[in-house]
Symmetry: C2
Subunit: 620 residues, 2 copies
């Protein structure tokens, strides 16, 4: 059964800016409606009727006004005052054109622990609302004084038994307590008035602080929001899916970017939860090529760097100023073509990775999914006989080309390049055979955006967050890995503008690939084969070897070999990892050579050594 | 009894940068020694002997090498490997000239829960250390597998009973568990080998995350570090007081600033804990004056703003281009003098508060205390017959003049200004009578520095942190209040460069006073008396009044009066707060008029309304 998509909504508190800016951002992203967070209205210098007109002009429904706090089960004398308060809010809602108000469970110490009393109070409120054609949704806050779980809220709604009173469900409040929606199928679908959605990283802190500062969009965190949404859909709910996120970073980020992420997360979630399906994600077959934007000078310099690492010039593009370098199964493209996406990229960012080719099982299905997830398609100019390769723009402007060789009689290198050697000939060079991983540096508040992009569009899974001490600040790293483990993209962020990562992001005017790791089956012969001085291999301090020997009990023979070649060493339960870095190229990116034998990580234990060595290069 | 000061030390992990930068910063601040954090050595591209020479050249002792982890009470086969690991570390220590190593309690799951076994292992290690003239300090980590409290570590040290094995105490590990040093007086002083100190804000999260990211210097957090240090001194400990702080902000902040804060915190702590005493803090008598750095044009404009608020020109400085404006008990100085601290301030920051006059009971004692706490003294040029006023520079360069009228026959205004009215005449103007508070905007990573400055130098106490939602990010506010509650300085920080506070900090090239609140006994007549349009009072949205009426059950008469005059309202258990803001002056600072009747806060409930209105002014 293919369901119709449910309406998509976002609470204004989830976005930065003034109320008009929030509404414009929600509309621009394509939301159907919004929840108006009360403070956003209070701080707006215009009447509720003006807000109503503005939303209508933007094509947005005002689906909910929220929250009304600390209403039910208060000591006797407070009830009348609270009803007067509710009536004033109803006045505002009528002007606003909001038909529903959210009442969240009472958090006051003086609130009375009596569901019957709570039900009676809410029944009065619902009756008053109904007289105006309004409705009341009751939600259990995870830190409510007595009502914390949705089952308790449902018990109270049942006791109140009023058609204008129903249940509001919120994924954060339920999942943060380790609760689930088990039993929701016993609730009549029309008593579920509204559903709010948020994810969050797993953090061990009090639930109130966690809720107020760290929520994020579904797919960005660690909570089982998909299970939650599935239970909601199975219960027959047909109302809006609405995001309510409190997040310090989101509050400071551009509202339009955040709104687009939000809608992407809901579209993805609905599909994952068994609602309107998206085209299946592509089966990734690895990184086919990496394309660098260069000009003539940077291109010559980069070519020399690559040659010193064992790469060979393999061909020239049929119609463009584009060169192909190859080694083992690695294809690197140096693009100096004027009037291209690469040239635009070069102008903004200098010599940098402007595109990545990903092998996929079905490029057209992959592109259809990406489009449904709000990604922009990119069409490059192609010459005669050249292959049309579907491409999409990632959130930082880098292109992903989707390479699908199913129906092609020859590879894109044969169709687009004048190859100097036969297509099937492999240049073994120094023994580098594949792209092991590539890392992106991102502004600190963009990590969640990219996690969602890779997860939703390519079905890559986020790994745990690592924290690495750069001499000038902490770097957080979270790897995205494809199901087949053949595409690995660690995402790195740094709050500090002083770390290598932070400086890179600042210098790069955005984000981008700053680290490319090539795999060798045996790193020692590879390092013997390359010109280590021209390749500018990063020097590793002797103190590192003293420690690694003591820490991992390496024998002196192995230690001597590692030290002579400047190789770093790590191991986990699955195997060994030997690796070596180059110095940065124009402070834009650096290369890593890795020998991975079963090992699952990225040498995070040694990343701090690399960062310190890079800092020493900069600071002398 | 006045004790000799104990040696002061800092662990290199507490500071940002490369190892040489860390050592230089510690030496520049005036520390006696350092703990070398192992990773700092591992990442340094030079031998331990070079580090030893560098430290010696800088006059720093290397007091400790740390940490050696997961040593004691491991399963059988691991012991020999761990002893070999220890021997390699002893080699390093000999080259480094570090006589003591810190062993922290084992965190491995496989560690054996047997104090006798732990003692036997540590005894072996101590014996090996003693053969080289080295010593071993054993510390209980708060998250150790079996040993978490100092009493357990002491039990193990006693069982081991080796002269080269002793106890390391750490305030964070003890206080984070809610433990204390009760019973320490039974430990022989010479078995306390080393004492590490850190404070931390009270956060409800797992102790490991809390420890790794949020520690700060004593006096900056909420832990009873003073009680801890007092117990250490009373136990007869005479070794170094050493800071060990893991903090994300500190890692990214300039090492020299942080090192100075660190030494200031130890000097203060030692005095508070009954060690070498500092001169008593001043008894503050309120803010005597605020001085603005202006040029001719900005001075004219500011004068008009002040006149519109009911201030009158009261006099001209005897020898400088400096004017005095007065109302009630408020003195405002507009300084346009060339070749002055004010002119320097103006050049850096534009029209801004460059100095504050504080009434103190004894200016010379206050200055002696400030100097002992590493504050720089400032000497202004004075003309004949003018008063010499001691002044010190705060961490952002603003001056604090210390006004002490005990021995003066006339006020500084009489001695330094040609007054237009008799000194005793009070200009009542619009009824503003006193400076209620002034707020400073700081870069996000400098909040702790200023908390420590105000706490240590002026004995002001930090209040709880408030979080306020600006439309473009979160603002944190923490007020410092003098014991007599007559000097109140809220400190505001914002991670986001997009909030009014964040933009202010960016625009201001540092930090500074951005908010000055004047008190009126009755704000309504004051607002009637001033020229509200020329004073540029900030407009408050009507929606605010709808909400405050519903929320606080205000009657319609009061509500109408508040709304007509644009007055905001709050109350707490102690009384009412009525207040109104002006628009900003040159995006540098704004004024607030307040009526405070018993109320203890700063209208934080309304600050978001103000921020939204200011944002609307900027964004139109």
């Amino acid at each position: 059964m293919t369901r119709r998509p449910l309406p998509k909504s976002i609470a204004t508190v989830s976005l930065s800016g003034t109320l008009p800016e929030k509404l414009e951002a929600a509309a621009a992203a394509g939301f159907d409606g919004v929840e108006i967070f009360e403070n956003d209205l209070l701080h707006f210098d215009g009447s509720p009727a003006e807000v109503r007109r503005m939303a209508a002009d933007l094509g947005l429904q005002i689906l909910l006004y929220q929250p009304l706090r600390d209403f039910e089960a208060m000591p006797g004398e407070v009830f009348a005052r609270n009803m007067a308060r509710a009536e004033r809010k109803f006045d505002v809602m009528e002007q606003l054109g909001a038909e529903m108000v959210l009442v969240c469970s009472n958090v006051q110490d003086v609130a009375i622990d009596d569901p019957a009393r709570a039900a009676a109070d809410l029944r009065c409120m619902a009756e008053a609302a109904a007289r105006r054609g309004l409705r009341v949704g009751y939600e259990a806050l995870a830190w409510g004084r007595h009502t914390r779980r949705w089952q308790q809220a449902w018990d109270i709604v049942q006791r109140a038994d009023h058609p204008a009173l129903g249940l509001v469900l919120d994924s954060f409040h339920t999942l943060s307590l380790g609760d689930s929606l088990q039993g929701l199928d016993a609730v009549p679908a029309d008593k579920i008035f509204f559903v709010q959605l948020a994810d969050a990283p797993r953090l061990s802190m009090d639930v109130l602080s966690w809720s107020r500062h760290y929520r994020n969009f579904p797919g960005q965190g660690d909570l089982p929001v998909t299970d939650f949404a599935r239970a909601v859909l199975q219960a027959g709910y047909t109302g809006p899916l609405s995001l309510e996120v409190f997040n310090d970073d989101f509050r400071a980020a551009p509202a339009r970017l955040m709104a687009q992420d939000g809608l992407r997360s809901l579209i993805w979630l609905e599909s994952e939860a068994g609602g309107t399906p998206l085209p299946e994600p592509p089966v990734l077959g690895g990184v086919d090529f990496i394309e660098f934007a260069v000009d003539y000078v940077a291109g010559r310099e980069l070519a020399q760097r690559l040659e010193s690492l064992g790469f060979a010039h393999a061909g020239r593009h049929r119609s463009k100023a584009v060169d192909l370098y190859r080694q083992g199964g690695i294809n690197l493209i140096l693009n100096a073509e004027q009037d291209s996406a690469a040239a635009e990229h070069f102008q903004l960012h200098g010599p940098s990775v402007c595109a990545i080719g990903l092998k996929v099982d079905d490029a057209h299905r992959a592109m259809a999914r990406a489009r449904a997830l709000l990604c922009k398609e990119w069409r490059e100019q192609v010459g005669p006989d050249e292959r049309v390769i579907p491409a999409l723009r990632s959130p930082d402007g880098m292109l992903f080309h989707l390479i699908d060789d199913r129906d092609a009689d020859r590879s894109i290198y044969e169709s687009d390049f004048l190859l100097e050697t036969p297509a099937e000939a492999v240049h073994h060079g120094a023994g580098l055979s594949a792209i092991d991983h590539l890392a992106q540096a991102l502004p600190a508040n963009r990590l969640d955006s990219f996690v969602l992009f890779y997860r939703s569009v390519f079905a890559m899974q986020p790994e745990a967050v690592h924290e690495i001490a750069d001499p000038y600040g902490l770097v957080k790293s979270r790897a995205m890995v494809s199901p087949g483990e053949n595409v690995r993209i660690p995402l790195n962020v740094s709050e500090s503008g002083c770390t290598a990562t932070g400086r890179f992001v600042a210098a790069y005017a955005g984000s981008g690939v700053h680290h490319i790791a090539f795999r060798s089956e045996r790193i020692e012969p590879t390092l013997e084969a390359i010109d280590r001085s021209r390749a500018a291999m990063l020097h590793v301090p002797d103190n590192y070897y003293d420690d690694v020997a003591a820490r991992l009990a390496l024998d002196d023979v192995l230690l001597g070999r590692l030290q002579r070649l400047g190789v770093l060493y790590d191991r986990d339960a699955h195997g060994e990892f030997l690796h070596a870095y180059t110095e940065p190229f124009h402070e834009r990116f650096f290369f890593e050579l890795v020998q991975r034998a079963g090992y699952l990580g990225y040498g995070a234990a040694n990343a701090a050594v690399r960062m310190a060595a890079q800092a020493q290069l900069r600071h002398g």
